[in-house]
Symmetry: none
Subunit: 210 residues, 4 copies
């Protein structure tokens, strides 16, 4: 949990030499630059240190691993999902999905999937990335869905967590498995098909174990 928050913790540390903000920035900047030409996997603490003109120990003092640095580095520049001001919740979700796919098609998508990959080895990394990236956007969607339920646009019994999985799942599935492209056709067809499910209660209950 504190893995990558050390940075954020504005521990009113009054004793000792204060942390060098310049070094911190240099590290994040170097990491950003390196991530444009390498994968998170090939990223190296040694290289970051060299590129940032910083000693390795300074890096190790503040970050537990390279993924944590990458998360911090990328966070600032990651485009946030804004709450869409659309006529309906359905329209807002659609809009968001289109933007997300567009976004993931590019370099951010590469980093996102590399960080998820990195997280498969280290639960803390996955948790940090999830909480600081994925859940932010997901919360926006959840709130939208809850609102939709309250206005009657969606079925009142809808499980909004499940709904989020149905909305985002296919996107991450394609992002990570890459069996098919994250193209415009996908981002347009997907919400159309999905939203049907959100409007109706889940009636087709064919239990596997009847």
């Amino acid at each position: 949990m504190d893995a990558t928050e050390a940075t954020a913790t504005a521990t009113a540390r009054t004793r000792g030499r204060p942390r060098s903000e310049a070094a911190r920035q240099a590290i994040l900047e170097a990491t950003r630059a390196l991530l444009e030409v390498t994968t998170v996997r090939d990223l190296t603490i040694e290289t970051i240190a060299k590129q940032a003109g910083v000693s390795k120990s300074t890096i190790y003092r503040w970050w537990p691993n390279k993924a944590a640095i990458a998360i911090d580095a990328v966070e600032a520049i990651m485009p946030r999902s804004r709450l869409a001001k659309s006529k309906s919740v359905s329209a807002a979700l659609t809009e968001q999905l289109v933007l997300l796919v567009e976004h993931y098609r590019g370099p951010y998508g590469r980093i996102v999937k590399e960080l998820i990959a990195e997280g498969q080895t280290d639960p803390e990394v996955l948790a940090a990335f999830r909480d600081r990236f994925l859940l932010r956007r997901r919360t926006v969607a959840r709130d939208l869905i809850e609102y939709g339920k309250s206005t009657g646009e969606f079925d009142a019994a809808l499980n909004s967590d499940l709904a989020c999985d149905i909305i985002y799942g296919p996107v991450y599935y394609r992002l990570l498995v890459a069996h098919l492209p994250l193209d415009d056709e996908f981002s347009r067809a997907l919400p159309k098909q999905i939203l049907v499910a959100l409007h109706h209660p889940g009636i087709y209950g064919f239990s596997a174990h009847p």
Copy 2:
């Protein structure tokens, strides 16, 4: 492409000492054993060689990287998805989904996600894993859906690729992001909610760029 097929290619090699089947089996067996106690990431060619009583060069002669070995090793023991004999396509899909989730909850799930993670770095690994694991099951589902379309159970205009993404996407999403568990509640609620979408045409078209 040739990443993991070297093994399979029964190139009618006639000259020289024939490949040692014993060595091949020992390598796969050792890998299987090691995968029970380590992640794919922490798996090491050196360790496999030692455990299998085989030289490193023998491994490098036949496999391009550890993921390829892991895929070969795991393939044999991965439970195959059988075509469910249910009354309806919906029921069959539901049954499959329940089994998949159950399956991914255990040790296989761990290996699957680790291999997908490994694939983010190496496209060949991802392709090999996808083609030899994921697509097999997906093809079963696609065929089911196509059959459902022909019988009128599903909308005839349904894009079956998209349908597969909607079915499997949420599962892999939870598997990899781990924001919520792959529990029974999920595996039961998911198909109920999703199947609605597959029965109807994607009517709710709120284009983001009208």
Copy 3:
């Protein structure tokens, strides 16, 4: 020269906070304690600071290196050679030699040889150690020899520096090279054999280059 004397210089510093005697003692005490369980080589400024509850900079303010601290720390507890009150100079020297060997057999011997070793790298360390430890004892011996020359016990032409080397040399040789132990047999046989040489003039002059 000033290497380890900074401590002593009671520079009539009048302004500012006076040097903390408590810190100084704590450092020396910690060093003494650490030297019982580690070698001078493995001694660390960082460890001393921690053990003494003192900041590194306080140490660096007053000592140039760890050997200097070790010298200061050990000086107080090193047994001094007392001028023996024997019937003859020969007996006095013998007595001194026996005590020295006895002394060097124990933990002090270890520290002495480690400090000499440390001095091979840093001339200032060697000089400081030599002047504050070795030369003290040597001076006692030299004075004895000079006295012996004046009473006729030793040959008047004897070079007393050379004589000291002949007396002490074998002891340090065994201490440092450790080819043979510093045992009682040695400390008893050595003066017997050596004193012969000091009584006679160096007559056997077989020049290597005649």
Copy 4:
């Protein structure tokens, strides 16, 4: 014991790739070159590797520490003490002593004392250095002394180990403590004074504890 002999052990190793003699020579050569400009203490495995164009692991595979490399490196080029063909044993010893002092005045002396210093920390290093350098020369002297005893030139009851310590001790004492120089005056006066002691039995027995 095997610390530095790994090199020598012509283990009739028949399996696997044979050790690279080229690498071995490059390492020793690089070490020799570096020792001309740095101390043994400042010598670095990393630097040796770089200079020799060899990987660190190759060095670590064959030597346990830098002192062991230095010993191997220096051994070949260290001038051996030849058995002097003089009229008498006394003359031969004198000649040897003069040469030794001359020898230790230069760069070899520096390395010798640095290796002895290094040995104070690591008993294996000291043992290796002692056995392969110091004892060789000492053995020559011991044999000479024994011969002198047999011809009646020296006292028959003379302990030749003790005699060696008396001969060499003062030299190493000056070498290591550096209170006085290893000059010609020293090397000429020393044997003259010492040989007196070797001709007579150790008669002046002033026991410290009568």
